[in-house]
Amino acid sequence: MKRLLWLTVALAISGYAIAQPSAEEGEKLFKQRCASCHDIERKLVGPPLKNVTERRDEEWLIKFIRNSQELINAGDPIAVQIFEEYNRIPMPPHPDLTDDQIKSILAYIEKASKGETVASEKQEEQQQVSAVPSEKMQELIQRGEKLFRQNCAACHKIDKDLTGPALAGVTKRRDREWLYRWIRNSQELISEGDPIAVQLFEEWNRVPMPPFPQLTNEDIDAILAYIEYEESAKAEAVAPTPGVEAEEEAKPTPLWKSLLIVSVIVLLILSAVITSLWRRKAYQLIQQGKEVPTPPTIVEIFTSKYLTVPLITILVVWGIWEVWNWGADLGHSVGYAPEQPIYFSHAIHAGKLGIDCQHCHFGARKGRMAGIPPVSVCMNCHRGVQESNVVLPNGKTGTEEIKKLLAHFESGEPIRWVRVFSNPDHVYFNHFQHVVIGKVECQECHGPIETMHKVKKTFRISMGFCLECHRERNVDLDNGYYKAYYEDYLKRIHEGKVDGITVAQIGGADCQRCHY
């Protein structure tokens, strides 16, 4: 009887745990599905969602999210009103979302509306940042750097004004609590009439800083730590201390410099040797009473085959070496950043708006090609977003570029993008394999796309680049496939001495993994 009771309790608890919609999952889903049109606080394409769970009935919300058009067609008064209010732009249906998934999104919205951050259980630790030992500090800085690049770098630099102000010294200028609030939602502070916030807003042409509700206090601390670290590094660089100078001395001199020095020394020694030899010879000749020939002139020395032949050989070898390197780089075209028919900015879409890469490049999670989104995918959002005051680096406003997209949409003409990344024909590369199975971040090969207005090839994507990663990265032994084949193998071969198998060890460096 007792056992039964326990079982019931356990079941109830686990049932509750399962039934409880997870705000964390909701957050993920929100970013994938909603964030391109909705914000908690702000009106984007769609209305701000703050407290939407209080405004509307949950059942209604589920229906609306699943298929708003249906509700509108059915004549639901609220739905029709929203539709009219928002320029008759229908919200795209999400028929694949389950009730639980929608509930978790709503749970996230509810939490976010209350200003709570979702993954913020460990808030207390924040004050100890300065106290952590340097190793932890370094980790923190690294994390901060990553977050900074992902979230801030599109608009901010440490030492320079960009779209936003330079951030050096920001931790000294502002109160940390204020910074948390500001970064998470600046508009809120402005509307509350916070004097610093309003002043900043006015100063920076009333361009609001986009909110980052997903950042926890911990995250922001990491970013700030990174900023602090960077500014000190910059400061040190500007006013070098004696120690730094000494360090600079120890740095290896470039190859050409050392070569030059060596060759000058060799030349000097050679000339000394030649001179002494000549003198000895002349002395011998004089001793033998023979006529001493006139010593060679400088011109004769420099045109003698003993000098010219090695010199030319060196030049030829060097030339071949250079041509070889240049040839090897051909086609890799690092830094290639062609003009595109539409000035599409990843910095705005992926960086500022934080749209997930695979929202548009959805092929990456299904197959070989990540694919460039069809016009229809662009129009999902741009049916609503037809204006933008953002001034792009090419001097045009967002509105002008969006107009180009709309023109394509009108004419039914697909956009002829210029290809930046492409593998040669003899290379088989599968995005699904890398992104989904291998869990490789897009940026690892494509560079910090989310900071680029104009896509630029960052890395020299050569076979070495691929292999380097294949040799370092471990396969995911949680995957049933690898587990089935290699777990036992790992135990047997390495007797537990290593904790993982790299891709290359199980054939990731074989020719016919990529060439067939």
Partner: protein, 1020 residues
């Protein structure tokens, strides 16, 4: 037992290769001697060339990197993701062969056909494997033609409708099509015909089964072909019936043959295959006992056999007077004994389209109980041939009299493939309006007033009923590159109906087919399931209604004597030596003539490519002084004139004296460049009158053959990649194998020793987590060549053309070696598919200076094309001779057009044809070595799928292209490291397993299984 001596050609047979080996190098043909060794390259020339090539290479490397565009879809279809293949179930019928297929498409274009994994009739022959090429062939018609002028579809349909409307009330309309097995199309046709006062539909089969159909009509009242279930038979006798090479349905028959021939320890019985023939056919070469008939002896043989069986079974049926030679008497005695040893499980297939013989064959099958046991299933017969030669003969007669007003020809080409093409062409001129519907402007189209481009099966909606009760839906897998319309859509337009055939088909099924199913399900969901599955089978009960004929069988019993009397009263075709025997080659009967893959697939028996020829037996050749390559003039008096062609002689073992065997399907005049090879042999067929009806017979006497004194370059791959007489095939007989499973493979009987020897090595020991292995059962390989074509298609293997093949430059990754043994007049044959053996200790790897070929962790010998610098050391060091070098740019992958040797109209010839290429396999350029990769792209795809689903790769999940294409199932593939797989178990424990040249310690991954012939010991 003395070792069998194998030989590949008659010349080799005379040589003692083991002794003379070093002096006999047939593979270095004339060309090598003529060019390489005679042309001297001076030192200065050598330097010039070196300088030029260096400069050229430098120049070529300075190319600017082109700006490439990436153009996404405007609106991406939901099911299409770039880079992900989509498979569709469909079906294919070309008027001869039916197959249910799974078509792999990429970005909306079909790239490979594969047998449907579940449906019946899922076997592919070489033709079906190559059929996808016809979809893209750039020679296809792109616009309707009126008297040769291009016109728009609107005008074409309007004008032809006016023509048809004008003859509605008083005019003769005739439609000629190949056999139609689509119930919906038949219904539509009958609707169309009924809108005229005098209209008739004539079915015209190129490979005619008129006599077989008529014989069954006389016996059972149904003009059908019984479904020959050789998969259930114990003894099968083929009389001039090349049922594995094209008679009836090559792929499906081969599948059934394979099912009946598969021997395992659990079921150690196999089909006994007897063959009586004068020509040495593919089927005959696979027979356990082959009885060599002289010219025209098939008819006395079948009658004699009937007499013998009628006597032995005490059936009370009358015997028929026939004179038999001594040999024939012996044959009849022996064959009847064997057939009667398995009552109810013996079957006779009679090939020639001759009514008398067919009637006796039916009588024999009846006496053997084949109809009763369902071995020749007359209850649920085949419908894949329904044509009548006589009806077509009458039509030509009508046309000649000027009585036909409108003639509609759909998908037929009698001006090329009729026995009297010139008579048909003359008659065509007397028809007022000729409307041809065809995919190409072929010979008949060029004589027609109107030519309307019609879709090929892969572009059409259609249903099929190849066998009673088994329905198929063929969905289009491609929208089509060419401006063609489906035949049925044109009919609907002529009928003035708005709907398209898809709607018509769907309605037809909802109203006519689904109600047969009995229980009423929602037709919409049924339709969706049927289209998805591609097939639809009626429950047994549903077909009961049609079995009223079944009662006739009992009453038939009384009629059999009368039937035999009628048969014996029918006149025999006069056949005397010498005679021309026509046969269908790998390229089919004309439809696939422009298919370079099929043209380059070697003929199974002579291995000749890119030509048809006159095949004669060795003794006959000696008598008449024929040598392979002699050009002869073959002429035949026909009606008003003489038909003459000049063809080369090929001496082929096993052919009877007086037989000139010529393949049809060559010598097209109105098709692409590829199709124009060879000469048209159809006019050598004759029309024979039997029982008041005409039949097209492919055996004709009265030919005159004279030597022209000239020679012709005939290219055969038989002696290419010669293995220098090393013993690489093993065989035994069923009796011996039952006694000793190691028989024929005695060398491996000491398993401990073999295991120890295999482990003795200088190399570090390797452990495999996965190891891909292939097992090929030599008992099941029939040499049909389907695998070769499938491999070409899957792996973008270049087609090189006749000239290049003559230089031993063919690129096939897979070849089928043919070894003869015994008497050249009636030899035994063994087929051995030979492909890269993927050795664990591969000799090719050690000699590559740039490590372009090496062994992967899963036991594949991999070849990195882009690393290869073309030293060809690997090919020289390969004991199996399976590596192929790109001597020229066969694919257009190079920058220099000067290097190109692309076969015109081949798969690489132009952008439209190139759409057939597999985007997952790189197209190789000049100067690199290539070879079988074990279809690595398929392995990788399956691995990725397994990773996505987080599981191991299932056994049988990966099928190589050759394995999937093999109709008999001779090839098996799997992970040998996983001991639960079939392949691993076979390798582990089957006594028939052996490796080719195992003594070289190359440790190949391809294992072969000793061939078993169903013979007794003394006949071995």
């Amino acid at each position: 037992m003395e070792k069998k001596k194998y030989w590949k050609s008659i010349q080799e047979g005379k040589h003692n290769v083991q002794k003379e080996g070093k002096n006999y190098h047939p593979e270095f043909g004339e060309w090598v001697e003529n060019t390489i060794f005679k042309k001297q390259l001076s030192r200065r020339d050598f330097l010039k060339w070196t300088g030029l090539t260096t400069a050229a290479t430098t120049l070529a490397s300075c190319w600017e990197v082109p700006v490439r565009k990436a153009i996404p879809y405007f609106i991406q279809p939901e099911e299409s993701i770039p880079g992900v293949a989509v498979h569709y179930a469909t079906a294919y019928f070309d008027g001869e062969e039916f197959a249910s297929l799974l078509v792999r498409t990429r970005e909306g274009r079909p790239i490979k056909v594969e047998p449907h994994p579940k449906a019946p009739f899922n076997a592919t022959s070489a033709k079906i494997q190559g059929s996808l090429f016809n979809l893209y062939d750039h020679r296809r018609l792109d616009s309707p033609l009126n008297k040769g002028e291009k016109v728009s579809w609107e005008k074409a349909l309007k004008d032809t409708k006016v023509i048809l409307d004008s003859v509605k009330e008083n005019g003769k309309v005739r439609i000629v099509t190949p056999t139609i097995i689509s119930p919906a199309t038949k219904q539509l046709l009958s609707e169309f015909l009924s809108s005229f006062s005098d209209a008739k539909h004539i079915q015209y089969d190129v490979v005619s089964f008129s006599a077989l159909l008529d014989a069954h009509e006389k016996a059972f009242g149904k003009r059908v072909i019984p479904d020959y279930r050789i998969d259930k038979a114990k003894v099968v006798l083929g009389v001039e019936a090349d049922f594995l090479g094209g008679w009836l349905s090559a792929g499906e028959m081969a599948r059934r043959y394979g099912a009946a021939r598969r021997v395992t320890k659990q079921s150690p019985e196999m089909l006994l295959h007897l063959q009586a023939e004068s020509r040495y056919s593919l089927t005959g070469s696979n027979a356990d006992y082959r009885y060599k008939l002289q010219v025209g002896e098939h008819l006395p043989f079948i009658i004699g056999l009937y007499n013998e069986i009628a006597k032995k079974t005490d059936s009370g049926l009358p015997t028929v007077a026939v004179s038999l030679s001594e040999d024939l008497k012996k044959y009849v005695e022996e064959v009847s004994e064997k057939l009667l040893s398995a009552p109810g499980y013996a079957l006779v297939l009679y090939g020639p389209n001759d009514l008398k013989g067919q009637m006796f064959a039916v009588a024999i099958n009846y006496l053997l109980g084949a109809y009763d046991s369902g071995l020749a299933d007359i209850e649920k017969p085949l419908y894949i041939r329904q044509g009548s030669d006589h009806e077509f003969f009458e039509l030509v007669d009508e046309m000649n009299k000027g009585q036909v007003d409108v003639l509609i020809l759909y998908d037929v080409n009698p001006a090329y493939d009729y026995a009297y093409p010139e008579v048909f062409a003359e008659a065509l001129k007397k028809v007022k309006h000729v409307i041809t519907l065809a995919d190409k402007n072929h010979e008949t189209g060029q004589l027609s007033e109107w030519v309307l481009p019609s879709s090929v099966p892969y572009e059409s909606w259609r249903d099929y009923l190849p066998k009673e009760g088994v329905y198929f839906i063929a969905q289009p897998v491609f929208t089509g590159l060419y401006n063609a319309k489906q035949f049925e859509d044109i009919l609907l337009a002529w009928l003035g109906q708005d709907q398209n055939f898809y709607t018509y088909l769907k309605n037809f099924w909802t109203n006519n087919i689904y109600p047969l199913y009995g229980e009423q399900k929602d037709p919409e969901s049924l339709w969706q399931t049927t289209v998805h599955d591609g097939y639809f089978m009626l429950k047994r009960s549903a077909t009961q209604g049609e079995q009223q004929d079944g009662t006739q069988e009992d009453s038939m019993q009384a009629d059999w004597s009368q039937y035999v009397n009628e048969a014996s009263s029918i006149e025999s075709p006069e056949l005397s030596s010498p005679a021309v025997y026509l046969y269908e080659p790998i390229i089919g009967t004309g439809r696939y003539s422009n298919n370079a893959w099929l043209q380059e697939t070697p003929d199974p028996l002579t291995k000749v490519v890119w030509d048809n020829f006159v095949a004669v037996g060795p003794a006959f050749a000696r008598e008449n002084g024929y040598k392979t390559g002699d050009l002869v003039r073959v002429s035949l008096m026909k009606g008003s004139g003489t038909y003459t062609v000049e063809l080369p002689i090929v001496v082929q073992p096993g052919i009877a004296k007086g037989v000139y065997a010529i393949a049809v399907g060559y010598g097209r005049t109105a098709d692409g460049k590829v199709a124009q090879t060879g000469k048209n042999a159809f006019p050598f067929a004759s029309l024979v009158k039997q029982g008041g009806k005409y039949y097209v017979l492919w055996i004709t006497s009265g030919v005159k053959v004279e030597k022209t004194g000239q020679t012709y370059k005939i290219v055969s791959t038989q002696e290419h990649f010669n293995l220098e007489g090393r013993p690489i095939v093993r065989e035994t007989t069923l009796e011996e194998w039952k006694e000793n499973p190691w028989s024929g493979n005695e060398e491996r009987a000491d398993t401990e020793k073999i295991k120890k020897l295999r482990k003795t090595t200088f190399y570090p020991e390797r452990e495999f987590v996965q190891h891909w292995d292939m097992v090929i059962d030599l008992s099941l390989c029939i040499g049909c060549g389907a695998c070769v074509v499938a491999c070409d298609n899957e792996n973008n293997v270049p087609v090189v053309g006749k000239e290049e093949v003559s230089r031993v430059h063919e690129m096939h990754w897979m070849r089928i070696d043919l070894y003869y043994s015994g008497d050249p007049e009636n030899p035994d044959a063994v087929y051995q598919p030979m492909l890269c053996q993927h050795c664990d200790h591969a000799p090719c790897e050690n000699v590559c200076p740039v490590a372009a070929t090496n062994s992967s962790v899963d036991g594949i010998n991999q070849m990195a094309y882009n690393r290869c610098i073309g030293t060809r050391y690997c090919a020289n060091n390969c004991p199996y001779k399976v590596r192929r070098f790109n001597w020229y740019d066969y694919t257009g992958a190079d920058s220099f057009p000067l290097n190109e040797k692309i076969v015109e109209d081949g798969p690489f010839a132009n952008d439209k044809n190139r759409l057939i290429l597999n985007p997952d396999v790189v197209v190789r350029s000049r100067g690199v070595m290539e070879k079988c990769s074990f279809c690595i792209q398929r392995i990788q795809e399956a691995k990725l799928k397994a990773k996505a689903e987080g599981r191991k790769i299932r056994d049988g999940e990966i099928k190589t292209a050759c394995q999937a294409a093999c109709p008999t199932g001779a090839i098996q593939f799997g992970d040998g490291a996983d001991k639960s797989t079939k392949v691993a178990q076979l390798i582990e424990s089957d006594e028939r397993i052996y490796y080719v040249l195992e003594e070289l310690h190359t440790l190949p991954s391809v294992a072969y299984m000793t061939k078993i012939r169903n013979r007794s010991k003394q006949n071995a």
